[in-house]
């Protein structure tokens, strides 16, 4: 490996506006995501986290502005170089996005089979190594629909990692997982980081617990812009009321408990109770 390839890749967003058709999701954001670190992108549901990730990996083009990887302006490149650049990225999709028609081993082997002429034994070995890394060596012959959500995510991670990309993007790796599986996923990402110190990992999440476990760097999206972009330490020490509330479910819970809700009119209550009594045969 040359020195140029060895160093880590930084991602810079410049005046970036993202959206769908006529709807702007993120407006003129400027930020940088440091290379060789785990960065967590946080935000409320519908805040544009997945949208940002889909643009980072080049699945959609921004409405305006630039995404700069290292020193390459992603969307100003000829198609061939753009694709070469994208090969440097691995992506873990929200539900793994494994091909349903193939078993795990074939899914993980796919990038190698398509793009290299490695002999079958070598591919098999690399695949089993990667599956073992995510704890799925025993499940190599299973099909994706025979696995739990957590296993699918881990297999998706193995597939994203098999081509050893310098940039790894993960969409909600812990959402929908029980605490044990979430913990395993966090540990997995930290292990990956340890083994590949130069790898830039971007994780989209709204799992505060996992944020504190894995993040070096944090970016918070809110209301079409960036509410925070800095290290985890800076976030912990912030005095900003909004950010504090964001991180602290306790205060939101207290506030929501105090909210007044209007209740049903007494006549309606009476009518509904009678109807239900009749249905349930209570009289």
């Amino acid at each position: 490996m040359t020195a140029e390839q060895k160093k880590s890749w930084e991602i810079r967003l410049e005046d970036l506006t993202l959206g769908y058709e006529d709807k702007v999701v993120l407006n003129k954001i400027n930020a940088s995501i440091p290379g060789g670190k785990i960065s967590v992108i946080l935000g409320s549901s519908g805040g544009g986290k997945s949208t940002l990730l889909r643009h980072l990996v080049g699945l959609r083009r921004p409405m305006s502005g630039k995404i700069i990887l290292d020193k390459y302006d992603m969307f100003a490149m000829p198609d061939k170089e753009f694709r070469a650049l994208r090969r440097r990225m691995g992506m873990l999709f929200q539900d793994g996005a494994l091909l349903g028609s193939m078993n795990l081993a074939d899914n993980v082997a796919l990038p190698l089979r398509e793009h290299t002429s490695l002999p079958e034994e070598v591919i098999r070995e690399v695949v089993l190594y990667n599956l073992d890394l995510v704890g799925l060596a025993q499940a190599a012959d299973y099909y994706p629909n025979e696995l739990s959500g957590g296993m699918r995510k881990r297999a998706g991670l193995a597939r994203a990692m098999v081509a050893a990309p310098p940039i790894l993007l993960c969409d909600e790796p812990t959402s929908g997982l029980d605490p044990i599986n979430s913990g395993q996923m966090d540990a997995l990402l930290l292990n990956l980081k340890e083994q590949n110190p130069d790898m830039t990992i971007v994780v989209v999440s709204h799992d505060i617990e996992s944020l504190f476990t894995i993040a070096d760097h944090v970016m918070i999206l809110h209301g079409g812009g960036i509410a925070f972009n800095g290290t985890l330490e800076e976030l912990k020490n912030t005095q900003d009321q909004f950010l504090k509330r964001f991180l602290d479910r306790e205060t939101i819970y207290e506030e929501s408990r105090k909210e007044e809700h209007r209740s049903l009119r007494p006549e309606t209550q009476e009518e509904v109770r009678n109807a239900l009594d009749k249905w349930l045969g209570r009289n």
């Binding site: 994208r86 691995g90 992506m91 091909l99 796919l110 398509e114």
Partner: protein, 195 residues
């Protein structure tokens, strides 16, 4: 077989029941064989293609392929087109043979025609050009059905009337409808070219 019954009735009004073999063989080989086979395959396999590719779209599998720099046309669509090009002519031939045997059954056993004459009519009616037209039509329909069904599935996410699983079901319906319409239209076009 229905063709046998109807044809027998119609022909017997003008006193030429003996032509039944000709009617059935030409009707099947030139028109009904390729068209009905194509419509049946559309319902059975075409809809499955659209649904499968549509599900791949909404579950981000197609995005994953793109990120892995795997060309979905070569990886997913080309093999399905190739398979269709092989299967359509084969199944059309099977359909023709079964149809002609069905006509034999109706004509000879139920209506009492002479079996030898029926088969002789079949044999002398069908010429190389008819078989060639049948073959060309089945290839044409294979291209139509596989491309319509694959692309409807592939562009499931572009639908404006619905999203998610609902879009897959709408895409499947519209793929089947569009395929059937195009089959009938291009059947007409192909026939005019050959006559």
């Amino acid at each position: 077989m229905v063709l046998g019954l109807q044809g027998y009735n119609a022909l017997s009004t003008v006193g030429s029941e003996g032509m039944l073999g000709t009617l059935i063989a030409l009707g099947l080989v030139r028109e009904l064989g390729p068209v009905l086979t194509a419509i049946m395959i559309t319902g059975r396999a075409g809809s499955a293609m659209t649904a499968e590719i549509g599900v791949m779209r909404i579950s981000e599998q197609l995005d994953a392929l793109e990120v892995m720099d795997i060309n979905p046309y070569a990886f997913l669509i080309a093999p399905r087109m190739l398979a269709s090009l092989i299967v359509f002519p084969l199944l059309t031939s099977v359909f023709n043979v079964v149809g002609i045997l069905g006509g034999y059954f109706t004509g000879v056993y139920l209506l009492g025609l002479n079996g030898g004459i029926y088969l002789h009519r079949v044999q002398s009616a069908v010429e190389f050009d008819d078989l060639f037209l049948c073959f060309i039509k089945s290839l044409l329909f294979a291209l139509i059905v596989s491309s319509v069904c694959c692309f409807k599935g592939f562009f499931t996410h572009m639908r404006t009337d619905s999203a998610g699983p609902e879009a897959v079901s709408k895409a499947t319906t519209s793929a089947v409808v569009l395929s059937c319409i195009l089959i009938l239209v291009f059947d007409y076009v192909a026939t005019t070219f050959f006559i």
